[in-house]
């Protein structure tokens, strides 16, 4: 998470869907993401969940079907503020 002093590890296989994962992340990092929509990203909060895929590209969590996401996600990062520009965040 942006600004946090240490990393956390989670097992994606534990979760069955985006809502489960996002709820866990929000609990773990004590933040809120807002509602996901393809159009606006995560609207209504200053944080957004992103992930690094196996190509090394950073993408917004939620665009692809869950199984596809799990297979390609290498790392998660919660971004905020200017990093989240245009992703539906404040």
């Amino acid at each position: 998470m942006a600004g946090a002093p240490y990393l956390r590890k989670i097992d994606l296989k534990v979760y069955k869907s985006y809502p489960e994962l996002l709820m866990a992340l929000q609990t773990l990092f004590k933040c809120t993401f807002g509602e996901y929509s393809e159009r606006e990203g995560y609207n209504g909060s200053e944080y957004a969940p992103t992930y690094e895929d196996k190509d090394g590209d950073w993408m917004l969590v939620g665009d692809v079907p869950w199984n596809m996401f799990v297979s390609s996600c290498k790392r998660l990062r919660i971004i905020k503020g200017s990093e989240a520009k245009g992703l539906g965040c404040l």
Binding site: M59, D63, P65, G86
Partner: protein, 192 residues
């Protein structure tokens, strides 16, 4: 049946990987033969339905047989999800490509099979990235500050719209929204 469409579906060299789609409600698998099919619950609502232009793809009924045929390549549940494709993650129902915009760190993914043509694609990109620019993207409009490029299967960057839509969806691997005054996509671009 459009030969281009069927070859796109069946040719294993066209598809980089196959992803298993869990069964939908009541054990019924929606084969997504309709362009309007909802395949991702987080994306579609009636308010977000794309407007298709006249250039609709034709997904014939015979695809039902093809899906269950033993001639299909690796259509069973894939054991190994490890391989990441710099390009299309696809099956018969979707073909996701990455979209990046100059100056925006985080990319998005869209399914080109959601759309019937370039105008529909432009609408979705406007929705996703339009807020990055004060006047919106206005892709394909001459006064726009932005151009849309795609990477084809030969890894060449080309301007979107240079080929008919049906050809485009078969060869697009990646999209990039570039500022016009930045000139041609350079070889040193982060996304090449």
């Amino acid at each position: 049946m459009e030969s281009n469409t069927s070859s796109f579906l069946l040719n294993s060299s066209t598809l980089h990987s196959v992803f298993y789609q869990d069964k939908q409600d009541d054990g019924i698998i929606d084969l997504g033969l309709s362009l309007g099919t909802v395949h991702h619950e987080a994306y579609h609502s009636s308010a977000n339905r794309m407007v298709y232009d006249g250039d609709l793809m034709d997904w014939p009924h015979s695809n039902l047989n093809i899906k269950n045929s033993s001639t299909m390549h690796s259509r069973s549940v894939p054991e190994n999800f490890d391989e990441e494709i710099e390009g299309v993650q696809s099956n018969e129902r979707w073909a996701y490509v990455k979209v990046n915009m100059d100056g925006v760190t985080i990319g998005r993914k869209i399914s080109v099979l959601d759309h019937g043509g370039y105008s529909s694609l432009a609408l979705q990109l406007e929705d996703m990235f339009g807020s990055q620019s004060g006047s919106g993207l206005r892709l394909f409009q001459s006064e726009s500050e932005y151009s849309l490029f795609y990477k084809d299967r030969q890894d060449h960057w080309r301007p979107v719209g240079d080929v008919p839509w049906k050809e485009f969806i078969e060869c697009v691997k990646r999209l990039r929204i570039a500022r016009k005054n930045d000139g041609i996509v350079s070889c040193s671009s982060r996304y090449t």
